[in-house]
């Protein structure tokens, strides 16, 4: 079971934190994991990329993930900049923070290969609702747990609790709920999609 993840977002959205949380969740599940940032000059709003590798075997390489099996887009406007889908595996998955459906994004010009899959989750809206701020990070991790099954929702919950241990309990609880809500949204979407295909 391996997962090579590339996360795209903007400075301030917690791109590096997302990669770290994912690696923590995988580690807690007994898997080997590595979170690697790709730092630029850090400015709020500038495009940022981070990587996460998850494997059953110890991870030795320290190169960037250039053939991801999963791409997470924290900000859909990054699609316009191009390059975010570079190297995506033929059967890769893209999780996009968007309130639009995959079909709507396809109509808007997001085209994937026949075996590639697009999943959307309204992470910004959900985080506004639960955190009072547009921080899509933990919602997207809930979605990743639902889509891949490589890390469980429980492991994501654990990672949030560890990483935000110094924050107030209400913040931790809100982030856990955010991951749970996003997880539920994606499970629901997937169920509908399967119903349509059947």
């Amino acid at each position: 079971m391996t997962l090579d993840v590339r996360i795209h977002g903007r400075g301030g959205q917690g791109v590096v934190t997302a990669a770290e949380l994912l690696s923590l969740a995988a580690f807690d599940q007994g898997l080997h994991a590595q979170a690697l940032p790709s730092f630029g000059s850090e400015r709020t709003g500038a495009p940022v990329v981070a990587f996460c590798r998850i494997d059953e075997r110890p991870i030795r390489s320290h190169d960037p993930v250039d053939h991801p099996s999963l791409v997470v887009l924290q900000d859909p406007t990054l699609l316009r900049a191009g390059g975010v889908l570079d190297g995506l595996a033929d059967d890769g998955v893209v999780v996009v923070n968007s309130s639009r459906t995959p079909a709507e994004l396809a109509d808007a010009g997001l085209h994937l290969g026949p075996r590639q899959r697009l999943v959307t989750v309204p992470a910004t809206e959900l985080s506004r609702e639960l955190l009072g701020r547009p921080l899509p990070n933990t919602a997207l991790l809930g979605a990743v747990a639902a889509v891949t099954g490589v890390v469980s929702l429980d492991a994501v919950r654990g990672a949030i609790r560890q990483r935000f241990a110094s924050r107030p309990d209400t913040v931790v609880a809100a982030n856990v709920r955010l991951a749970e809500e996003a997880h539920a949204v994606v499970i629901d979407e997937e169920a509908q999609r399967h119903a349509q295909t059947d």
């Binding site: 080997h32 994991a33 590595q34 030795r60 390489s61």
Partner: protein, 399 residues
């Protein structure tokens, strides 16, 4: 205990386990998280007794370490890039005075142009400063090398730099076994300086030496550093028997038996290279990796022996000597047996990633004779840009 943590945090925790009495800190990316981590530990009382000195510059940091070490304190600092250069005046003093300071160098490029990313230009620019230089291939090894560095420094009365790739290691979150206090205490006894500055029992450390004795002092220093090769190997062996894992030492060969070609490198590319070599071996290509952990002192005889019988070595240089060629590559060329053809390539300057695809292609290029031996080859060079700039230079008329 195995923890999923950032490399910098693991190094900070490990340095604290080594109980430094003085830490001098001046932050510079990508070293910052290490000294911040130590600051947190001192503030929380988890590292005590320890004097944490927030100094005004890197020059101040190393000068404070020199003073503290001469007064008999176990002393630590960390830096990067131009920060190391700002210490340059004091570096040979630390080694010449025989002060066992341990310093992390979070390796980063040298400007200009300004660039905060990883290569080995900083550490290699100070290779002749008389410090031992150990290069970590992973965050686990970075942790382990810090424990070994304090033991080595105090055994030899010499300062040690532990070099770890900036960002690629310092900012990577990985599973790292940070040792426990009891085991570190057993491995690293309290610092017993050979001599120290004591107002009640005055001695002079660092007297002037004139032409009559200076050559002899330098000769003995050179002998002492070369003799330290044995200590580096011994301390690594002792570490393995205490902590149960192999780390450090002089060289790290990986699948070099019967190899047609080996990649020779230092630092975090070694893990990437090991994965590349496994892939090549699966395809029937006899490739290997020869990691150099100890750069200073230079393990001449060990490297010569390790390369014996290997027809091709490809040195991956992450720094260059402008106006001369490579640094590591030249050392390897001067060391390799005449039967080993040495290829010299530059990769990964200023944060350009050294990828699995790039290393694999490099090995194939060497095996298919596409890389001229003897010349310094810049991998991934944008030749269009380089050619147009060169052409522009030609056009500029000098008035």
């Amino acid at each position: 205990m195995l923890r999923q943590i950032e490399g910098s945090r693991a190094v900070a925790d490990t340095v604290a386990l080594c109980r430094p009495a003085v830490v001098a800190a001046y932050p510079i990316s990508p070293q910052t998280h290490i000294v911040e981590g130590l600051s947190d530990l001192v503030t929380a009382g988890d590292l005590a007794p320890c004097e944490y000195l927030l100094v005004e510059s890197e020059f101040g940091a190393l000068s404070a370490c020199i003073g503290a070490s001469a007064a008999g304190a176990r002393t630590y600092t960390a830096t990067s890039s131009q920060g190391l250069l700002f210490m340059a005046e004091a570096l040979p003093n630390a080694s010449g005075l025989g002060l066992p300071i341990v310093m992390t160098v979070a390796n980063r490029a040298l400007g200009a142009p300004i660039n905060i990313w990883n290569d080995h230009s900083d550490a290699l620019s100070q290779r002749d400063a008389g410090w031992l230089q150990l290069f970590a291939s992973s965050n686990q090894e970075a942790v382990d090398l810090h424990v070994q560095a304090f033991a080595l420094a105090e055994r030899l009365s010499l300062p040690v730099m532990v070099c770890m790739d900036g960002f690629v290691l310092t900012h990577a979150m990985e599973e790292i076994d940070v040792p426990d206090q009891e085991t570190v205490d057993a491995f690293l006894p309290a610092f017993a300086p050979r001599q120290w500055l004591d107002p009640d029992d005055p001695v002079t450390i660092g007297a002037m030496v004139g032409p009559g004795q200076f050559t002899e002092v330098k000769y003995l220093a050179a002998r002492h550093q070369l003799a330290a090769l044995d200590d580096v190997a011994e301390v690594a062996a002792e570490f393995e028997s205490t902590f149960g894992r192999a780390s450090g030492g002089l060289l790290q060969p990986y699948r070099t038996e019967d190899a047609e070609v080996v990649l020779v490198a230092m630092g975090s590319v070694l893990g990437t290279a090991a994965d590349v070599v496994d892939g090549l071996r699966d395809d029937g290509i006899a490739a290997g990796v020869l990691g150099i952990t100890c750069y200073r002192p230079w393990p001449h005889d060990e490297l010569h022996d390790a390369l014996r019988g290997i027809p091709r070595a490809v040195v991956v240089n992450r720094a260059i000597a402008v106006g001369a060629g490579s640094i590591l590559g030249r050392d390897v060329r001067l060391t390799a047996p005449p039967t080993t053809e040495v290829h010299d390539v530059v990769m990964g300057l200023g944060g350009r990633p050294v990828t699995r695809a790039g290393l694999r292609q490099l090995v194939l290029d060497v095996l298919h004779g596409r890389l001229e031996p003897g010349a310094l080859h810049f991998v991934d060079l944008d030749e269009t840009i380089a050619a147009s700039e060169l052409a522009r230079d030609e056009e500029v008329a000098v008035p």
